[in-house]
């Protein structure tokens, strides 16, 4: 059969950012997918070499505009490691609460856009965005902003939580606890959804390791690795965090891992709020001149909503000499050719949706 080449993009083929996919098809079966990336490349790693330490967090937030605080925290934690700065216990709890809220918001957006991608419009999309908005309200209450927060400071946060935050958050978490089963019931009993998810875009456990995929994509293939437990940071071990993994490695498993992670995040936020200790949560004031680093090389791993991020920083006095970012979306997207081969063309967007890529994160 003749091979037809179709060019998808470079405007966004679904709702994840600017990407171009060159797809070779035999009939409507995919033979090869070649992603062309770099449309959002801003040279953040190079830019970081030319800014002083605390001028960089706003750039970091723009890497993943769906979960900006996660990247911000990963960077600030790298600088804290380089400078040997300890984070107070209260700050650790608050960081965990905010990061988990950010994860819920990111996974809800992923769920909404996934349903949009596979033609499961419009109910689940609207539900997910409405619920994400409620979580964003909480983040706004805590940080003053809905999108880019820049609220991490060396050793703590810009400010402590407001007075009513705990009550509002517990109410919202109770609501989400009841709400998530509604998503599950609505989606998993729907044949349009399940037939386009089950058995599509399969990666086995060994393939997942070989392809280097990370985060929910890796855990959906049976590798039970989550930085929050295996290389636990902050108070995750005190909160008895358990990673969620499934075995099938298909679209459905990747969706389901995210649902389970939302439920686990809800539990984590509630337990962290209940155990929140008294103390000082304020970090160092931002000044152009920061303390000089004590470690030349610092490596920090963090579990972002999209997967594992690693920051490798070589420190100079006052600014990074080199900052290398391992972005989870970059390596997850690289696996798309393997996942899409042999599938139908229409399923390509479901696969892309379950990878949950953000092009700012891919291109850096």
């Amino acid at each position: 059969m003749t091979v037809t080449r179709i060019n998808v993009g470079p405007v966004h083929p679904s709702t994840h950012g600017v990407i171009r996919l060159v797809v070779d098809l035999e009939g409507d079966t995919i033979v090869n997918v070649e992603p062309h990336i770099g449309f959002l490349h801003r040279g953040v790693e190079k830019l970081a070499e030319s800014r002083m330490y605390m001028q960089i967090p706003p750039y970091m937030e723009k890497l993943d505009y769906v979960a900006p605080m996660s990247y911000n925290e990963a960077y600030v934690a790298t600088v804290e490691t380089a400078m040997g700065i300890q984070v107070s216990e209260r700050s650790q709890y608050i960081r965990v609460i905010l990061l988990e809220l950010q994860r819920i918001a990111s996974h809800l957006l992923s769920l909404g856009t996934l349903c949009n991608d596979i033609g499961q419009t419009f109910t689940a999309f609207m539900w997910a965005f409405k619920d994400r908005d409620i979580v964003l309200d909480l983040l706004q209450e805590a940080t003053g902003s809905r999108m880019f927060y820049v609220n991490m400071r060396l050793g703590g946060l810009r400010e402590d939580l407001p007075a009513d935050f705990s009550e509002h958050t517990l109410n919202t978490m109770d609501y989400l606890e009841k709400r998530i089963p509604e998503y599950v019931a609505y989606l998993e009993k729907n044949p349009i959804f399940t037939e386009r998810m089950k058995g599509i875009g399969v990666i086995t456990r060994d393939e997942a390791k070989q392809l280097g995929v990370t985060g929910p994509v890796l855990r959906a293939s049976g590798v039970n690795y989550d930085v929050r437990r295996s290389n636990a940071y902050y108070v995750y071990s005190k909160l008895h965090f358990t990673p969620k993994s499934l075995q099938d490695g298909d679209n459905f498993s990747r969706y389901k891992v995210r649902i389970l992670e939302i439920q686990e995040s809800v539990r984590l936020v509630k337990s962290a709020l209940k155990a929140l200790p008294e103390g000082n949560a304020k970090g160092m004031q931002v000044k152009l001149r920061s303390p000089n680093p004590v470690n030349r090389i610092s490596v920090v791993n963090r579990e972002l909503p999209k997967g594992e991020c690693m920051m490798y920083m070589v420190a100079d006095p006052q600014k990074p000499y080199r900052l290398s970012i391992r972005s989870p979306s970059f390596i997850n997207l690289a696996a798309i050719n393997h996942m899409a081969k042999g599938e139908r063309f229409a399923d390509l967007f479901g696969i892309l949706g379950t990878l949950d890529i953000i092009m700012g994160c891919v291109d850096r």
């Binding site: 990336i37 770099g38 449309f39 490349h41 040279g43 790693e45 190079k46 030319s50 800014r51 002083m52 390791k209 070989q210 392809l211 280097g212 590798v223 690795y225 295996s230 290389n231 152009l288 001149r289 490596v299 791993n301 594992e308 690693m310 490798y312 070589v314 006095p317 006052q318 600014k319 000499y321 080199r322 290398s324 391992r326 970059f330 390596i331 690289a334 291109d363 850096r364």
Partner: protein, 125 residues
């Protein structure tokens, strides 16, 4: 862990058989007098990471490809080639991945011509 360039393939192969079968990242650091190519590998069973550093002479910038052992090295090696001008022997990694221009200087090298190099307050004194 410092590794000689000639021993890179055998070291990574040996580590893979010992359980370090996940490639986390390939990156590089330009120290001007030398360039370090960095390989970070993970063992999921022990949750241990191992960082391999290969020191390269700027006049002789190449590393062997490890794509045979770790297919996930594909995009990382292309990025290394594009951003640092490190040739990847054993495969063609020269197709651009992130940048859409064919610049003379690899952008992540310190020799890259900035429009305005930024100075810290200490530099301005």
């Amino acid at each position: 862990m410092k590794v000689d360039r000639d021993a890179l393939i055998s070291t990574i192969g040996k580590m893979k058989s010992e359980g370090f079968d996940y490639l986390l990242k390939i990156t590089a650091v330009d120290y001007v007098d030398h360039v370090d190519s960095i390989y970070i590998l993970r063992n999921f069973d022990t949750s241990k990471d191992e960082i391999l550093e290969v020191t390269l002479d700027p006049a002789d910038l190449w590393v062997p490809t490890i794509i045979g052992m770790h297919p996930s090295a594909d995009w990382y090696e292309r990025e290394l080639c594009e951003m640092f001008g490190i040739a990847i022997k054993g495969r063609n990694a020269s197709r651009l991945i992130l940048e859409k221009w064919d610049g003379v200087d690899p952008p992540s090298r310190k020799s890259f011509a900035w429009y305005a190099p930024y100075k810290t307050i200490d530099d301005n004194k």
